[in-house]
């Protein structure tokens, strides 16, 4: 359960709209069920009351929408940002992707988002309602007379299990309590894969990526992927690919994307969250983050709004290429 209520956020947004500070509100909209929220723009108090919601399923990171919305909408846009979303927000600012003046950012606390697929794995099909309690969710289904209680911790999304920060690194206003930067175990899985032999690693990724349907949702949702025209969509690029073009091409796409966002990926987790095929894309990105940390010193993309990423920066104590051996940094 979240510690701030939909009602309090709604009221604050309505008053900012009312007094003219902002012209629109970027938030999450209620769906057919309790878990199918859609990012949406609200421009009137009634719209907010009717549709706005902040709950355990407000996973969508709204910062990328600012690119489009700040260009489309006259006046300021109020955006609600969870702690991890603020890193994407800053990173986009570092890259000058939207006009900061056009945004009014409200930081809101997050106690972790729930993954509906994990809930389905536990309760089965036919979920009709989900009630949030303090540390658990009461799930009503078509097939059980009594609601089933699942603990929030058990159904956290992958990125929330490895939350890197409860602290907001950017905002104009904060609602609720501020948190702290956390020490997460987010590199544990990466280490497990590093420990595999090259063949095993290859087989692991082969298997995971074999499910890819090349919907490109990972790219489309990624706040670091903001090219006006992605090479993979561009018929003139020579590498446009609409379909999974075989094992080689799939790996190429994902590796190229991982390289392209390296140093700019804040580990926001959107790519893995949106992937309809459940491919653990975060592992690729985290491998890059981990290598960069080890090679160039600790670096968190999006921590500030004017950073230079390690790969586009230069310092005299950068390691020599000879220090970096095939297959990663030599830790010996």
């Amino acid at each position: 359960m979240q510690t701030v209520t939909t009602k309090s956020l709604c009221e604050r947004a309505a008053s900012l709209l009312g007094e003219g500070t902002v012209a629109a509100v970027l938030g999450w909209k209620r769906g057919e069920f309790d878990y199918d929220l859609t990012p949406a723009v609200f421009t009137a108090a009634e719209e907010l009351t009717e549709g706005f919601i902040y709950n355990d399923f407000s996973g969508a990171n709204l910062s990328k929408y600012l690119l489009k919305k700040t260009r489309e909408i006259d006046g300021k846009i109020l955006v609600f940002l969870k702690p991890c979303d603020t890193y994407s927000f800053n990173q986009l600012l570092s890259e000058h992707r939207f006009d900061r003046e056009k945004v009014y950012a409200i930081g809101i606390p997050c106690s972790g988002m729930a993954d509906i697929q994990k809930i389905r794995k536990i309760v089965g099909e036919g979920i009709t309602a989900i009630e949030a309690c303090e540390n658990s969710l009461l799930v009503h289904t078509l097939y059980d007379d009594e609601p089933i209680s699942v603990s929030c911790a058990e159904v956290l999304t992958e990125r929330c299990l490895n939350c890197k920060s409860k602290k907001h690194v950017a905002y104009d206003e904060l609602i609720g309590d501020e948190g702290e930067v956390l020490t997460s175990n987010r590199f544990d899985e990466v280490e497990k894969i590093e420990a595999l032999s090259a063949d095993e690693r290859f087989a692991f990724w082969q298997n995971e990526l074999s499910r890819c349907i090349r919907c490109n949702a990972c790219r489309d949702a990624c706040p670091a992927c903001t090219c006006e025209k992605c090479v993979f969509d561009n018929p003139n690029s020579g590498v446009q690919s609409k379909a999974p073009g075989g094992e080689f091409e799939e790996k190429l796409f994902h590796i190229i994307r991982a390289y392209h966002v390296a140093g700019r990926c804040t580990d926001c987790g959107e790519c893995s969250r949106v992937c309809p095929q459940n491919i653990p894309l975060h592992l690729l990105n985290r491998k890059f983050i981990k290598d960069m940390n080890e090679t160039y010193g600790e670096y968190q993309a999006g921590e500030y709004d004017n950073q230079r990423a390690p790969l586009v920066n230069f310092s005299l104590d950068d390691p020599e290429p000879s220090d970096v051996v095939k297959g990663g940094f030599d830790r010996a």
Partner: protein, 341 residues
Amino acid sequence: MLKCTLSNIDKLFEIVSASMPLYLPTEDKNGAVFKKWQPGTVWSNASNTVKGPKDLFFPQSEDLMAFKTEGKKIEVIDTRTETEDFAVFGVRACDVKSLEILDRVFLTEPRDSYYASRREHGVIISLACNRPTENCFCGTFGIDAAEPMGDVSAWLTDDALYLHANTERGQAFTKLIADLTEACDDSAVSAQKEKNRKVMKRLPLADLEANAFGGSKTEQFFHSPQWEKLSESCLGCGTCTFVCPTCQCYDIRDFKTNNGVVRYRCWDSCMYSEFTKMAHGNNRNSQKERFRQRFMHKLVYFPENNDGIFSCVGCGRCLAKCPISMNIVKVMKALEVDTDD
């Protein structure tokens, strides 16, 4: 009606597999998917598979032909592979219906011989839904999940699988497994159908109606102000089209190899910016227009050209898979509000 006790089900799969490849739902990391049965494969009765059986008839990408060049000589190479009989088990009522919709597209002139030959070689064993999901709304399109069609219809009770052949191909299939089945009356199946229909009535989307839509409604919905709102956060990822059992758009491309060309086709999506790009450019330049195309096609254009038949079967996959949870149900509800005004 034929009955096969559940304890014999793996034997049944084994016997079928001995004479042709058998595809059935099995649990993958990401949910149930149609896979070829092999000894040890565990059949999944999940409702429903992540993607429908469409891939087996119209794969996401397939080679159409190849050209080999030697100096000025071009040789055309036949790369076709879709000539083998196969069986698909566990196809839900919505997905059986989705194939009828694809038939209307691919089997009318000019006939798509690749699809046609897969259809001719495939035998479909459907399966009634005992536990539909909250996203299911096949009833909206007149589909009865308790009465799935196909070459063979099947029902599952606690202890047995019941089968009924509807076509000649279906009869050939039931003959294959004759040793494992015995004839029985309809009582167990009737009772199961009753149960299933009761559940269908309690589904959250049971009341959704499609009456407001259909051919000849283009004018009414095309300019609806709702499209702007509905599409505002669409990522244009096309996941909805890829998981949809009735989406049928494809692109044909050439892949250049060292000494020739492979011509293949792959699924395309109206949600993509480069979809149906023509010499003058694109005919749909905003995501709103692309988004509108998908839903207008399902709810208006397709029925317009196909005797009023909608090209959505209510399988609920776009509800389950859209990364921003926008889907045809939300679209229908929003547009209906429009008609009320």
